[in-house]
Symmetry: C2
């Protein structure tokens, strides 16, 4: 099966510097002196930017196959990619190399444009979630996203790892860590999520979880969770 990741990896391989990442590792993003494109190969990664009052904000979650470069983020000093998974892999390529490829290889042009478009849609959805949903709904939206992306069907429900700390979740969902903790406690109490050890969660009924978030249909569609929902 040829995935999006393969489609991009093949042409970029000759130009790429492989970077093995560990949890919390930062890759700083800057257009100067030379702009780099990062291709996510393995693991979950976050784009993060510093904000006023010593805060930070997680702008997006990057999954394997995603690409990112400084020009695609707000011009804020200190923007970075941060690894959320224990072990990840990222390829770094000079943007100038990509630009040259765009001219030579029609496939690369198509894949890059598709990737940017898909990521734009996810970014817009994330924006909708932040702007339109309550705190509880936002946290559920994140759980749905991670479950959709990384979850597995098990006997007791959909099992998935949550590699984001309470603080990461807060920075991604525009809440604060205390509030996130309260919300997660409520979700646990209501039974839609069950803790299953070290950062591991079980969602006994994916449909119930989806019901707790008005934008669930859009989330599951964009993150390919068809397989977790009843037809």
């Amino acid at each position: 099966m040829s995935t999006v990741l393969d489609l991009l990896s093949a042409p970029l391989e000759p130009y790429a510097v492989r970077i093995a990442t560990r949890k919390r590792q930062r890759l700083s993003l800057a257009a100067e002196p030379e702009e780099m494109l990062y291709l996510i190969r393995k693991g979950l990664h976050l784009t993060s930017a510093p904000m006023p009052h010593d805060r930070h904000q997680v702008l997006s979650i990057l999954y394997p196959g995603d690409i990112v470069r400084a020009s695609a983020l707000p011009p804020i000093e200190g923007a970075a990619v941060i690894s959320a998974s224990d072990k990840g892999e990222v390829w770094r390529v000079r943007w100038s190399a990509i630009e040259a490829l765009l001219g030579r290889d029609a496939n690369v042009a198509r894949v890059i444009s598709d990737r940017l478009t898909d990521q734009a849609a996810r970014s817009a959805l994330h924006k909708s979630i932040l702007a339109g949903l309550s705190g509880d709904e936002r946290v559920v939206a994140l759980m749905l996203e991670i479950a959709a992306r990384t979850g597995r069907e098990t006997a007791t429900g959909v099992t998935f790892e949550m590699p984001l700390s309470r603080n990461d979740i807060a920075e991604y969902m525009a809440l604060n860590a205390d509030t996130v903790s309260r919300i997660v406690s409520r979700l646990r109490a209501s039974g839609v999520l069950t803790p299953a050890g070290r950062n591991l969660l079980i969602c006994p009924s994916f449909a119930d979880l989806a019901r707790a978030c008005p934008l669930a249909p859009a989330i599951t569609r964009l993150h390919n969770a068809g397989h977790l929902l009843p037809a």
Copy 2:
């Protein structure tokens, strides 16, 4: 001077259907049956999506040179482009035509990718504004954006038209119309904005306005407002 708009218009022209738009006109966005790309030629336009509880949300403001297609927005039934200006112009092109062009014309591939990247950066900045700033700061952010894009230096300050209604502003800034009204009243009272007739505003000191919004530097940089600020 060759602008971004020209760079895109030239190659797309043979495939484009010209659409003259009037205020509030909707162009619906759907991937089915055939996906269309819209190129903004004149005027300000909004991308809007319906939300739970009979709400709507403005996902982005589109300026001349911007492009949009359904795949770049969340898969929400009823997403549309809505004209904010009295008279606008939009070109509609079949996405399949663009895709073919990507292979033939290296320039098109480069421009499209640049456009998507720039728009991604603006979307991410918008997200930062929604997630990290107070209501007052968010409204100021919008004023800065519009002033930066469309404002002119006059004797009394930077003059610009605000084509968005209170409700549009509310939907763009994740506030409600009542709150926006209160905030604008406060801005007027504090003197950073002066009404100057029909949807026209004057900002006596652009620097003062910028001081009222922590993300002003990023906003002015992304929206090319260098010319409105003291060096």
